[in-house]
């Protein structure tokens, strides 16, 4: 694409057309174009009017915010927009204020539905929004479900609005219940701009060619051809079992092959959280486990703590449970000993001298069995006050999130946790190495990526698997490693020896 053509495209995006879809594969600069469009449009708007940029995640919002510097646009997640509307009517709707979506008040999906209803019953609000934001940009539109789509439409239809929807059908991997918009057919029926310059690989020609060809193959329903891969792509086969959905797994060959790949900054992408976590435990020193914005485990535990307020023994149990879930080195013996010394009358150490440090923490909980005290005890544990040899944190994202909470008497701790999680996500930058699931990696880019479980059970020959595969392979800039289980290779990859079967050998095409 020449400069002139690119400029013409950009002018069109910033131009007066009421609706424009911007379709582009991963790494083709969608976010960049969105930032540029906001920068171009903002100075042309009348005073008091701004560009509205809607994202799905706080992470995306912050990334955009970071690049846009200077307030050319108002940035919000679609949920935040919906929450703003619902909170206005929280009293008539019988909802708490502030809202508490983590306890279903309302649930996240209900939030959007309620917001849509409010706009339908009070179209003046949509009118105000649309006039205030004559230009609305939406990121990752393929991830919108039906009600999010409706919300955007209600705003856009309320007044003459320039709507710019950025998306890519092949990256629609969040369609859990089949209600996502069909961005593919939207592209077919609405004015669309296709971005054609793969910026992500401007310094890596071989990788660019590989990803472009792989996308073509996946979109056409063909397998990716790995029979003669470029040097930036390695393919290894390993013998052993791919772990089940909830299992951490211990396929020795896979781990050793993966270990050989993990030089420098490489991110390992898996299908299940348990897989990422399992590999991270077996491969220490290769980066952390990144769970993204999810803080569901912390919330569940916190809810149990709130429930158990006043019950000393249960609170101690939950403290031990936190150390067990999110740390390494808590043994059954230890757990039993803690249970033994904590009686309904208090803490009685008896002859178990080794447990004295931990018993001090228990005593504090006995004298004040509250949520605040529990959180204080958790902080003491993290500061080394537990006295348990060899115990260390594995899931820092969850345990430190809880430890940061310092509620005052009137605070809703659940909402506090949510705020804390959001604040954390806001400052989080993309990791350079480590372990995470493909869904969390969406929108991020890495130097190198390894896919350890390229199995038929996880990547079937269907559209969701193709989309997931595309998201995974389009992340790295420089290097991509495929690790294929010999017994169950995915049909999405065509590698040498696939049909061979028998004893797997490690083939490296480097």
């Amino acid at each position: 694409m020449t400069d002139l053509e690119l400029e013409a495209l950009r002018e069109r995006i910033a131009g007066p057309e009421p609706l424009l879809l911007i379709e582009a594969p991963a790494g083709y600069g969608k976010t960049h174009e969105a930032v540029l469009a906001a920068q171009r449009i903002a100075p042309t708007l009348t005073e008091g009017r701004t560009v509205l940029f809607l994202t799905h995640t706080n992470g995306a919002r912050e990334a955009f915010n970071h690049r846009l510097k200077g307030g050319a646009a108002v940035m919000k997640t679609i949920h935040a927009l919906a929450a703003e509307l619902v909170e206005l009517y929280s009293a008539p709707l019988g909802l708490p204020k502030p809202l508490d979506p983590f306890h279903g008040q309302p649930s996240f999906s209900n939030m959007i539905t309620l917001a849509v209803k409010i706009l339908q019953r009070r179209p003046e609000i949509a009118l105000g929004l649309a006039v205030r934001h004559p230009v609305v940009l939406v990121d990752e539109y393929q991830d919108c479900d039906e009600s999010q789509h409706q919300l955007v439409q209600l705003v856009a239809d309320a007044a003459p609005t320039r709507l710019r929807l950025f998306g890519d059908d092949l990256q629609a991997i969040f369609d859990w219940d089949g209600t996502a918009v069909d961005f593919g057919s939207m592209v077919a029926t609405h004015p669309t701009i296709h971005l054609t310059t793969p910026w992500r690989w401007r310094k890596h020609d071989a990788m660019r060619e590989f990803v472009v060809e792989a996308r073509r193959a996946l979109a056409a329903g063909e397998p990716i051809d790995l029979t003669n891969p470029p040097s930036c792509v390695t393919v290894q086969r390993w013998a052993g079992q791919v772990p089940g959905p909830k299992q951490e797994g211990h396929a020795f060959e896979c781990i050793s092959a993966l270990g050989a790949c993990l030089d420098g900054d490489t991110v390992v992408l898996t299908h299940h959280n348990s897989h990422a976590l399992g590999l991270r435990k077996k491969l220490p020193g290769r980066g952390g486990y990144h769970e993204g914005a999810d803080h569901e485990p912390a919330r569940i535990l916190l809810d149990q703590v709130i429930e158990a307020e006043g019950e000393f023994q249960i609170l101690v149990g939950l403290l031990v449970s936190a150390m067990e879930q999110w740390g390494q080195g808590m043994t059954k013996t230890y757990r039993d000993q803690v249970a033994e010394i904590c009686t309904s009358e208090g803490v009685d150490v008896g002859t178990k001298k080794k447990i004295i440090p931990f018993s001090r923490i228990c005593e504090q909980l006995f004298s004040e069995p509250t949520v605040t005290q529990w959180l204080r005890c958790l902080r003491q544990v993290l500061n080394g006050g537990h006295g348990i040899e060899g115990w260390k944190v594995v899931r820092g994202d969850q345990i430190y999130l809880l430890a940061r909470l310092r509620p005052r008497p009137d605070d809703n701790v659940g909402v506090l946790l949510h705020g804390e999680a959001r604040a954390r996500d806001a400052v989080r930058t993309a990791p350079r190495k480590g372990f995470m699931v493909i869904h969390k990696a969406k929108g991020l880019e890495f130097d190198a990526v390894a896919l350890p479980y390229c199995a038929g059970a996880l990547f079937k020959n269907d559209l969701p698997s193709r989309r997931r595969m595309y998201v995974a392979i389009s992340r790295p800039q420089r290097q991509l490693h495929f690790l294929i289980p010999a017994d169950d290779p995915t049909p999405l990859l065509r590698a040498v020896g696939h049909s061979g079967g028998g004893r797997a050998s490690v083939n490296t095409f480097a």
Binding site: G15, I118, L127
Partner: protein, 680 residues
Amino acid sequence: MGRNGLRAHCRRTGRAEADGGNRATGRSGQAGTLDTIRAKGWATAQPLLEHRFAVDPEDGDGLPAPGDTLDAVRRKVAGLPLEDLIRAFAVRHELPRLATGARRRTSRVQIRRVKIERYRGIEKLVWCPTPGLNCLIGPGDVGKSTVLDAIATVLSPAPSRVASEHDYLGGDVAKGFKIELLIGKLDEEVLSAWSAAPLWTWWGEKNKVQAEPDPDGEAVLCLRAQGTDDLEIAHVAIDPSQGEVPLSPSKRQKFGLSTMGSAGTAYRELRMSRGSLLSRNIGAEQLRGLITEAVQATREQFTPSKEVEGRVGELSAALRAIAPGTGDLDLAMLSPRGQNLLGMIGLFASSKEALVPLANAGLGTQQLALFTLARLLIAGSPLFVIDEIESGLEPFRQRDLIARIRGTIESDGQAFITTHSPAAVGEMAIEELHRLDPPSGGASCISALADGLETVRRSDPEALLCRVLAVVEGQTELGLLRPLLEREAEDIGTTLGALGVRLVDGSGQPKVFKVTNALIKANQRFGAFLDDEAEHKGKRAALGQLERVAFGTYSDARCLEDALSMQLAVEDLDRLIAIPASDGRDHSDARYHQVNDSFGAQSRKTLVELAADHGHGRCRELFREVANKRSWFKAPETSIVVGEFLRDHHSDIQIVRDAEHFWASLMSLIANEIPREFAG
């Protein structure tokens, strides 16, 4: 040079280029061209664009123009170098903005409900004004201006001011005050002030507001100004969950309130003081440099007398004695401390070769000048508030001003005015009049006047401005009661006028009931003095039952003539017949002829003489019949003499006692509003 320094440098260069205009490229180039277009208009900017864009004779002038489709613009600029292409598109992007910039506001907001609590003299008031003109009337000191000020306080775009303790009811600052407006007919300009407008639902016909959104009801905003206990006025919007959203001056500005200061504030409004009507009309930028120059010039011309100079010289020497480094002292002009120099500039009008500051002109001229300035500011803005519209204006200019206000608010705006002028009331439609009465039980009340009062408005507009209206049967009672009631007022050291009691001709039964019903509907207390006729007994009885009505009638007589014939001796009736009317005309001859005619005689015998022949009873009967039939006392000039006659000579008869009774009940209606020494 560090990175920041470099960036700053680049930015400066960019701006310099933009100012240079032609050489500018990229974004700064857009700004240059667009500024020109904006400043000079599309037509004059064309030559500037012409040498940039190829002209295609097939396609108009070949330039991108407002309203061009994307394709047309693209065709027009095909083949241009990139730089020009960018500019062409930038111009096109500006089109929506040019279009919206010229757009006038299409609709106007309206106040649906006013709620006041503990503000100044008003403890509690809820009022639903009507669309269009709302003219507040009512006796003095009931808080008409307070209502207007309350509205202006909520919507005033001026920065939040400090409250005075007099803004709090009874000066009780700790309890705060609250003014709440429900604003409907919201236009997009107002709605877009919020990213999520906190809208309530209003049901106009039920005067009810609800939190749940409902597309069948009207969307309204609930705005509040609250006086806090630390004398601040907080402006907030209340969301449907009772949360408070701050209401910034820029948001308040969107409601387009325009107040016209009363003539008393002309001193401030007609000069360039900060935020005044004049400065909002003219803009300070143009004058700021000029005034500084003017002051400088005057400073140079300023030459004190020799005597003063000598004294300054002494000061100079004295100061140098203790501060040797000080230079020579001199006198020069300073701007007044703590004041805006611009405030020295005001509007003048030339009159007979002299310049007169408008602020020193007659009250009426001041009022009209204020109105003109306010009106120019509000072109297209919806809400207009004017206190005491009549001040300084003759009736004909009042009427003209009202007509102009109507023109300004057009069919869909809303204006709030107060008046004490009958001429202004006469100019209003009855549904535009709203009466504010003194509070009863803590709550003040503003009532719309009902149709039945239209006749009163037309015949006696002043009556609607009085404290309490006394509707009487007809001209007979008007004349009879006025002297009698005036004497009662005199007895307590005042007059009917000072008490605000006004007698109104009810034009007989049943017409009078139209007026009384309208007064009841308008929630008014009033007096009614009616004949005790055979008909309409039920209606009179119902009136007599009402708590807020002072009811009076003739005891044991149907009408005045009936009562006179029964209560006065025949000699006194003769005397009454002989009194000339208040216009000096003597009707006695005509009246005696009419009486004698009834006996078939042509003589002019007095009643006493006739009584000797026909008996006293027959004579009295005849008096009643003839006086009634021939309307002896049914004109103001003839009935008033009856009242005066009874007042002066027969203060012990029943008619007078009936009048005294009526007076007592009238006074009990307004007992708590009149000074104690009068009430005694």
